[in-house]
Symmetry: C2
Subunit: 346 residues, 2 copies
């Protein structure tokens, strides 16, 4: 396989042109890829999101982009989970109300529905539970659920949209977070080059990228970074072979369980779109993928990758960048005279 790929390395454009033709040629038979059968690997292709309630998703998108869910009127979900930038803010730690420095690196919202729990320490069981957190966190959006509801209730278009989606249910924070979560569930990124390869298109990744994957698999990275999300499925201790050194005070799972044995256990992050979600780790301390791979090798696997190996693994990791959600920027309904006004400087 590696030999074939090495000799057929072509530009991405050219590869896609070939792929396009192949699609046309075999379309009738129902085979998606000509090159071979789907592969049985510990990483699984992302299944595109099925939208069963488009009205709810659309409402959730508006809420996700609406800074009026923050005290300042300046911070929305999209501020720290920026969908133009891999669903993250690309900062070491986020900026909250009054420019407060957040305690932890903002995880990507992309493919977050595939995580088994939410937040680095898993303190929310699902996206709906997660969504309520930042709104009321005094270091993040610094609002309260009641005030957020006052804002939404004062805006007829929001009231009408909630009524359309949820019938006569009272507009409460559960509906708000439900709609946001339903929108977030659509933010998956299928069809990465690696997924094309998994589905049988041998030409979708290069020989070097494949070497990187083999290394990733054979070195043990895949023990935690597997499945559809290439992570997101377990808590693991950061710093197995060597302790992880950081000034960040977060202790992960133990913060939630108060069980000292779970000190420094964090949710394994997804590696999907990892090319876009720098910097890395819960403290955002690793600026580059090379640094992150090197540290993971040493601390988690007791392994010192050569710089060539690191480069190969990084090349593989970049094949995990999928199709980014194509979103039309929502137009938010205007506040009314009775809408509580933002208080950025009070």
């Amino acid at each position: 396989m590696q030999k074939v790929l090495k000799s057929t390395r072509v530009s991405r454009t050219f590869r896609n042109a070939i792929l396009g033709t192949t699609f046309l040629a075999v379309g009738v038979t129902g085979m998606a890829y000509a090159s071979g059968p789907a592969k049985d690997e510990p990483i699984k292709p992302i299944v595109p999101a099925k939208v069963t309630n488009p009205g709810k998703v659309e409402l959730g998108k508006k809420l996700f982009f609406d800074p009026r869910l923050s005290k300042s009127g300046f911070i929305s979900c999209n501020s720290c989970h920026n969908l133009s930038m891999g669903g993250s803010d690309n900062l070491t730690s986020s900026i909250g109300d009054r420019w407060q420095q957040g305690p932890i690196n903002s995880p990507t919202v992309l493919n977050s529905s595939l995580n088994f729990v939410q937040f680095w320490d898993g303190r929310a069981k699902d996206l709906q539970e997660q969504a309520g957190g930042p709104i009321a966190n005094p270091k993040e959006m610094a609002f309260s659920h009641d005030l957020a509801l006052d804002v939404l209730n004062s805006i007829p278009e929001y009231r009408a949209e909630f009524a359309k989606v949820y019938g006569d249910k009272k507009l409460d924070i559960q509906l708000v977070t439900d709609a946001i979560a339903e929108f977030e569930k659509t933010l998956v990124t299928p069809n990465s080059r690696f997924d094309q390869w998994l589905k049988g298109d041998s030409k979708a990744i290069t020989a070097e990228e494949l070497k990187g994957y083999e290394l990733f698999k054979n070195s043990g990275c895949v023990a935690c970074h597997s499945g559809e999300a290439v992570g997101g499925g377990s808590f693991q201790k950061l710093g197995l072979f060597e302790p992880y050194k950081t000034n960040n005070p977060a202790i992960g799972r133990a913060d939630v369980t108060k069980n000292d044995a779970e000190r420094f256990f964090f949710k394994v992050p997804t590696l999907r779109n990892v090319e876009l979600t720098y910097p890395y780790f819960h403290d955002g301390a690793a600026k580059t993928l090379e640094e992150a791979v090197d540290i993971m090798g040493r601390l988690q696997l007791g392994k010192k990758f050569t710089s060539e190996e690191t480069a190969q693994i990084v090349a593989f990791l970049k094949t995990l960048t999928g199709e980014q959600p194509k979103l039309q920027l929502p137009i938010l309904p205007p506040s009314r005279n009775n809408t509580p006004r933002p208080k950025p400087f009070d």
Copy 2:
């Protein structure tokens, strides 16, 4: 006219349904509206933007949404000219780097290409000149043009896109601001209900809205708020009949010309989409349209509108909300290992 409108007031949906039918019926003859000829009024319909260089517009859109043009990596053009919220931030004054309070209310970017000069005090002659200002303003994006160029130059996709649009010209701040300005020129909002009325569709506005327009015209508002942008065409003194009271230190045009006679002369703002661009005036002191209309009447026209008149004018002003730009959220190319990193907390 008013009588006819009063008796035929119908819901907007119903009106649009009628309009749709009419369109179909008369489409062949080339007449856009069945109800009557285009009107000769001091306000002119907005002409939709003609895009001659879509590549430049697309590049400008990316730059407009890219927070890496700020020191913090958190503030983009769209932060204060939010295209989900009428091209403004709906704050009294904007939030800048390290949460600094901006000196003035952020004017809408929508239809800003129709302004005869840019900024409240007209210190920039056009959008290109304007666009460079906030990037390097220590109270806004707090970056420098050189650093912004370092960021862009380190990202191959940006380099390629600049090369595609500008050939072999050196990537400098002029190209950056040119692309942003070209994008901004597309941000016009045609086809408001008032424009439909101007074009001959008598049913596009209600009797009350028409009364409001007649009052707006006959009271003298139209002396300054006219043309395609319903404003944006002159500097005028704020506080003609009574002085304008404010704690905001801006003195408008005199800040630029150092000519004391121009103290408190500000660029007349556009009233297009004014329903969306609250709060009002250079100091953002008027929270509602009613308040703004009342103050304008007293201070600029020596006129005390009754609350009924104010309501009518406000009703008219809301017919100036046009079609908001339909934008696909741009996907920004990722930083590379050599891209200068944001410094939000240094």
